[in-house]
Subunit: 535 residues, 2 copies
């Protein structure tokens, strides 16, 4: 009765067709709202890049900083019809989106390192993993042709080490995480049995809780957490199951409650449960800088490198940026109608910037965290061959906080790079950052040896490190808002100030993540475009 | 003072050097013991293939079955100097190590399907994933040049569905697993607070448990599990964090205790905690059958296909296998000194086999589980683009038990194959297996639609299924020993009986896993070789 084309209009629309229609009619805002209603979008504020159409002929934007925030602004504003220039302090694009390889140099205040890694090996000193719900990053990876691969997070066979747990002997995560839930289940069962929770839970829930604790905690028939084949099937074995005559497995002893608590393994369980740490996780194949290079392939010709900005001024008709070329010493000015500034607050606070006092206060009020990453190239993948650890992290309460095993090229024969340190705590960070690059390597080898005592130093080839507080173009790792500073300063930081808007991870609620840099920038240029269109 | 060579002898040996020396001097047994002492080998009974040297000149072995157990026997026995022949029922090698692709046929009792998948797509009807500690499989993958890639297991963003939980609406695993630990932590904190556990735990452990519950359960300052930003950072959001003006995240409501218990999410938590399900997990790139094809490239020329064995006889001088060629109808006999039989017990029990009554009883006493796998090819990866699910499993208490999303080629644009059913329960298995292939697909589409209602049927292209109890060469999925049947029959099944030994996953404590098939076979041929050498 109807041809295929008209059927498309008469059949009830699929969810996808509905969203497409809403997007066409109502724009990105309506689309986002509809996606939320339909349960699609709650995991991300990103649905599609903003549709910035109708830039005024000849309108221009200067972008400060060629990190991801700056480059995505340049990319989308160019598509919208603006004339864009980007000024970048360094002699490369990418900013913290950075991978170092053999032959590269790392310049810190006080030292220069030349990386010695074998071809194909790299360290991502900045971002190194991409959560599944960071849809803005994923969108641009697809658009820019950046190939993504899996990044291993939770590895049950990696270690947890605490100096005061198990006499300092690292434990496998599978062992102590099984012990933890076993003991919790046993204790809650005891409480239920004693009637301690009879006023808190219904009789029906109490019965279900008994079942839940028994199954989840792998308790025995007395509701106790004890050594058994069933527990071995989670915890691992003294002798693993095999074939033939001696195939029967032998389970190991379980840890006591006290020993289990001393490991604080709930911190690792919590870490893996964090939304931004959950699986599935990704990394660009070949190094995180593939994303920056993808943007640079599109808009790299708009970037002026080695350009040290000293002053940002604005008037009724436009903005003026004063700068010096750090290679030639030549000074100059760049004039444009509008300005997007992605310079980190640590550096921006030291420049002469013509914005409101509130914004200046916000810039100065924003502290940056520090971190250190140390890459250690090893002759062979002993963690795979000798320890059955493929990717993931071993944790410690030493300064290095963790070592992380490479994802990718598993089972390979050549040298490979372990992330030998990535301290969480400020104390550990600053203690490692305060060392010379050589001494950082030595410290990382000492501390990491707790996991692989026979191999760690014996198989070491070369190392490279980045201490973010000593990196001259940022002087820190990333923005660390507190609840108080957010309340006082965040909106002042991100507000459009005349012809100037700020963008970057520090202008987002995804601080320290590339997703925050991109989302912040898309929001900033959307508002800028709105004002530019209205002007 | 010393040159590099002599230093090798005077320096204290590394752990690796020590193991190599022990292996050279004491053989595999001593090596395994030493590895156990050094804490290396507890996760696997495999250290290296057995060293079968010194086969008697002209000694011969016939192997029945060209699955992994049979092929590894042929491969290692050939290397040891035996003359080997393999008889295989099917017209292909590999057995349950099997991948089906477009153009392949699936022959069941009562039906033949021709697979319609696009080039590059496949379904693994049998084994589909390899744990990190299945070192025998990993060893042969490396030796045979089989490229392995990651296989996604735990996916926090996939769904859990139960008909009587949340009104039948699937919940994200991240939401209900966070709720579960939150409620458990709150209840245990209440019990501790009420003094209900004061006789069970020390004061010090009680204090540590309070801290643990607060942190692990993400409890509020009253030690209650309630909606908060902190909980959102694990559970996910009603509005995710973003950039710029509207960047602030909005957390969702947490589930009640009763709702949480109704999901039985502890079963999924337990599933992911199983040693054989833990991460990191692998799959051969391009299909599980890459392993079988790797073996076939080495010993395929020794295999006689289409060979239906009817009788196994032995005498003081050798074994005689009677068979019929299922293509030509020709009958024949194969004579050899020794025999390795990897025919599944389901089929072997129906043949005329000259072994002890105890072994016959063991063969007949061994029931096989059933399972069904259904592959559904979809036009596009809507689970990735529309749901942010990359690999992993969504679970349900319907017959299909789960749907599993493909690992590999993430973000791709072409059609992709979802595993649309892999029932755990026997009832679900037999109910799906009892349907025609067409009706199985329809049932899988109906049930799987609970997760992706708008897309699942709309994007469907074609399906293929394997119901293992209807596969003529095995009539089941794999061996399911009970504790009682193990005690009564296992050693009788695996014992060397004159010149005959059995091998396969059913002859191992790793039933249903390729690791069990390989380990069983290596154990069987080691004992056979020992007897053959002594004879």
């Amino acid at each position: 009765m109807t041809d295929p084309v008209s059927r498309e209009f008469f059949a009830p629309p699929t969810r996808r067709q509905l969203l497409t229609m809403i997007g066409k009619v109502g724009g990105a805002g309506a689309l986002y709202q509809a996606m939320t209603v339909l349960g699609h979008a709650a995991d991300s504020q990103f649905s599609a890049p903003p549709r910035l159409t109708g830039a005024k002929p000849g309108a221009s934007v200067v972008v400060l900083g060629a990190g991801l925030a700056g480059m995505v602004a340049a990319y989308e504003l160019t598509k919208a019809g603006y004339t864009v220039q980007v000024l970048e302090f360094q002699d490369r694009t990418g900013g913290r989106n950075w991978s170092v390889r053999g032959g590269d140099t790392i310049t810190e205040l006080g030292s220069i390192q030349t990386v010695q890694f074998a071809p194909g090996n790299y360290l991502n000193p900045g971002p190194w993993r991409i959560p599944y719900h960071h849809r803005t990053v994923l969108h641009y990876c697809k658009e820019l042709g950046v190939e993504l691969e899996h990044f291993a997070q939770i590895n049950h066979n990696a270690f947890v080490h605490r100096k005061d747990a198990y006499g300092g002997k690292p434990q496998r995560y599978r062992e102590i995480s099984t012990d933890f839930k076993g003991h919790v289940a046993e204790l809650l069962s005891k409480s239920l049995n004693a009637g301690a929770l009879d006023t808190a839970v219904t009789a029906e829930d109490k019965a279900r809780l008994f079942d839940a604790m028994k199954e989840w905690g792998v308790l025995d028939k007395n509701r106790a957490y004890t050594k058994s084949i069933k527990v071995g099937e989670q915890r691992g074995w003294d002798r693993a199951p095999g074939g033939g005559v001696n195939g029967a497995p032998i389970p190991g002893e379980v840890g006591t409650l006290s020993d289990t608590l001393s490991t604080k393994v709930w911190q690792q369980i919590g870490f893996y449960a964090e939304n931004v740490m959950q699986t599935t996780m990704f990394q660009p194949k070949g190094g995180m800088d593939r994303i920056g290079k993808g943007f640079a392939a599109k808009i790299g010709h708009l970037v002026r490198l080695n350009t040290r900005v000293s002053k940002i001024a604005q008037d009724d008709n436009g903005v003026t940026v004063s700068w010096t070329d750090s290679k030639t010493g030549v000074s100059g000015q760049t004039r444009a109608d509008w300005l997007v500034c992605t310079i980190p607050a640590t550096v921006l606070g030291q420049l002469d910037v013509q914005v409101s006092d509130a914004k200046k206060a916000a810039i100065r009020a924003l502290p940056y965290s520090n971190s250190v990453k140390i890459g250690l190239e090893m002759k062979r993948r002993f963690w795979e061959t000798d320890y059955a650890i493929y990717g993931g992290h071993s944790f410690t309460d030493q300064d290095i906080s963790l070592i992380s095993y490479p994802t990718g090229n598993w089972f390979g024969d050549g040298p490979a790079v372990v992330l030998g340190a990535y301290p969480y705590g400020l104390i550990g960070s600053y203690r490692l950052a305060g060392l010379t690059p050589e001494k950082r390597i030595a410290a990382a080898l000492d501390q990491g040896s707790v996991f692989h005592p026979a191999e760690y130093k014996a198989e070491f080839l070369s190392g490279a490190s980045v201490a973010w507080n000593r990196i001259p173009w940022i002087l820190g790792c990333c923005a660390t808002w507190t609840e108080t500073s957010r309340a006082a300063h965040y909106q002042n930081l991100v507000s459009l100030d005349g012809r100037v808007v700020l963008a970057g991870e520090h202008c987002s609620y995804y601080g320290c993540w590339q997703e925050g840099a991109l989302l912040s920038s898309l929001d900033a240029i959307s508002r800028l475009h709105q004002r530019a269109s209205a002007a």
